[in-house]
Every structure is written in structure tokens, then in C-alpha cells.
């Protein structure tokens, strides 16, 4: 009984983290990068999103990532604060890129890659 309650609580807490999606803006990158996973979790009431990406080729690969966050009504939060950040991957390297939501009103987010 205690275990079921703990599981329910865990599910409820996990359900509160914002849902994320990925959008690759540069078609060439879809062939060169393997998006392995997009995970979300709550940290002190704020959603933390983590993207795991792998370079499929032997050559180093540079790309840019931007996390944009939306509230429950679909309005972008702090839209001017989101910046493109450069990411560099060596050949076959796998890396995680993560970001924390600007505040606790974030309900969904999008990871843009170009």
C-alpha cells in the first residue's frame, strides 16, 4: 500500500515537469546528429530539460541550441532572454545539453537546433 502511494506521488511529481519537444531547423544536421533522448524533471519547482545528442560522423560537428519555454497558455516566457548557445562535438562524441526553465510557470518547452 505504501509502495503504491509512493509510486502515485512519484508519478504526480514527474507529471508536473514541463513537456519538451525538439525542432531541428537545419536539414543537414538531421543526417549528422543523432538525437538520443530529451528528458525533463522538476528541480525545486523548476523544470530542467536535458538533450542527449551524438555526432554520427567521424568529423567534428558544430551546431547551436536554444531552449524556449512556454506557460500554460502557450505564451513564451522571457522570450528575449533565450539565446543560441554553441555546442561542439568531436567525431562520434556524445554530449548532453541542459537548461533550467526561467521560472515555475513553464509548462512546455522546445529545443531548437541549427
Amino acid at each position: 500500500m505504501g509502495l503504491v502511494a509512493a509510486l502515485l506521488v512519484a508519478l504526480l511529481v514527474a507529471g508536473c515537469a514541463a513537456r519538451g519537444e525538439i525542432e531541428v531547423l537545419n536539414d543537414d544536421l538531421t543526417d549528422q546528429l543523432e538525437i538520443k533522448k530529451l528528458k525533463s524533471r522538476l528541480v525545486g519547482g523548476l523544470t530542467q530539460g536535458q538533450l542527449r545528442v551524438r555526432n554520427k560522423s567521424k568529423k567534428p560537428q558544430s551546431f547551436q541550441v536554444k531552449f524556449i519555454w512556454f506557460d500554460s497558455q502557450g505564451f513564451q516566457i522571457d522570450n528575449e532572454a533565450a539565446s543560441w548557445l554553441p555546442v561542439m562535438l568531436q567525431g562520434r562524441e556524445e554530449k548532453t545539453v541542459q537548461a533550467v526553465a526561467p521560472n515555475d510557470s513553464a509548462k512546455t518547452y522546445k529545443v531548437l537546433i541549427r
Binding site: L46, K66, D78, A82, S83, P86, Q98, V100
Partner: protein
């Protein structure tokens, strides 16, 4: 006659070149959030990378999560010591970091750079006789900061004939002013390379 014609053609060409030169100067708006790699010197993308790392790290560090669960701690931002050889506006970095922390709803800040201005304003309200005493803001009611945010910025620059390698390290610390303990600390490293191309461009 042919000399006159040649001179005319020359004048026309010069005018066209001058006009073209003038027309090439154009002002347009750029994307402030874009990645900027104009030179190897400290730039806006470095500032964004440092701010993003520091804010995300501070907001997700478990002991800080515990502290901000109960209250919104009051923080005072001290300056970032610039130990690089470049002129870097480190206040701009701490401004971006404090803006994001404040907007997260987890922290509050006191601004030590405005103490004199506030003192003057309160003196005016309380001593000039021009402000209704019942509506004047009283002295001695401000909230003191519990934490201090401060840090360092250093760099290592190496040059060879064709390559310039710049390594930046930004360190930020949060000290509990009551206990003197560093409650949080993190670093952001950035490496930038400038290589000469084949044609020396």
C-alpha cells in the same frame, strides 16, 4: 575630341565607383541572441554561455533548492574580479545573472550601488518638510542581504604563428554572510581558437 570623350568616360566611372562605395554602407538590425564569432575576444555569446551555466547551476544545486524552498533569500552582488588582460565589463555579466535569478522568483537582491541615492531620497522624505510624514518611507526598515555573490574571471592566451588560443575561466561563489560558508560555487570554461586561413585572411 577623343581626349575629351576619354575624360568624360573616366569621370563617369569615378562617379559610379563613388556612388557604389556610398551605397554599400548599410545599417541593419541583427539578432541579439545569435552566436557571435567576429573576433576571438570576449563577446556576447560568451556572456550568454556564462550566465546560462551559472543560473542553471545555482537553481538546480540541491542545497540551494532546499534554501529557496522555504524563502526567497536576499543576495548582494559584489564585483567580479577581472584577471584577464582584456577589458571586460564584468558588471554586465552579473547584471544578466541577477536579472535571471530575480525573474526565477527564487531570489531577491539589494543594490549596493544605489545606497547613497536611496539615503538622499529618504533624507528628503524625512527631513525636508515637503513630504507628508505619514507617507514618508522611514529609515532603518531595509532588509539586509544574507548572501553575497562574487567571483573571478581569468584567461590564458597562447599564440603561435597561425593560431591564437584563448581560454576563459569564470568562477562564481555564493557566500552565507552569517556563517562565512560558501554555499555554492561553479565554473564555466570557454575555449576560443582563431586560425589563419590558407590565404592569410
Amino acid at each position: 575630341m577623343s581626349i575629351v570623350r576619354l575624360a568624360g568616360v573616366g569621370l563617369l566611372c569615378t562617379s559610379l565607383l563613388l556612388a557604389a562605395g556610398c551605397a554599400s554602407k548599410k545599417v541593419e538590425y541583427g539578432d541579439a541572441s545569435a552566436v557571435e564569432t567576429t573576433t576571438v575576444d570576449f563577446g556576447s555569446t560568451d556572456l550568454h554561455m556564462i550566465a546560462a551555466k551559472m543560473v542553471d547551476s545555482l537553481l538546480s544545486f540541491p542545497p540551494i533548492v532546499e534554501i529557496t524552498k522555504k524563502s526567497r533569500p536576499v543576495v548582494f552582488v559584489d564585483r567580479i574580479k577581472n584577471k584577464t588582460t582584456e577589458h571586460i565589463d564584468t558588471e554586465s555579466i552579473t547584471d544578466t545573472i541577477s536579472t535571471r535569478l530575480l525573474r526565477s522568483g527564487k531570489f531577491r537582491f539589494v543594490d549596493m550601488s544605489k545606497v547613497e541615492t536611496v539615503r538622499k531620497q529618504l533624507k528628503f522624505q524625512n527631513e525636508s518638510g515637503m513630504v507628508d510624514p505619514s507617507k514618508a518611507v522611514a529609515f532603518g526598515r531595509q532588509v539586509g542581504a544574507r548572501y553575497m555573490l562574487y567571483g573571478n574571471m581569468s584567461s590564458i592566451v597562447k599564440r603561435s604563428k597561425d593560431v591564437k588560443d584563448v581560454y576563459y575561466k569564470f568562477t562564481l561563489k555564493l557566500m552565507d554572510l552569517e556563517t562565512g560558508l560558501i554555499e555554492w560555487q561553479d565554473e564555466k570554461e570557454i575555449r576560443k581558437l582563431r586560425k589563419k586561413s590558407l590565404f592569410g585572411m
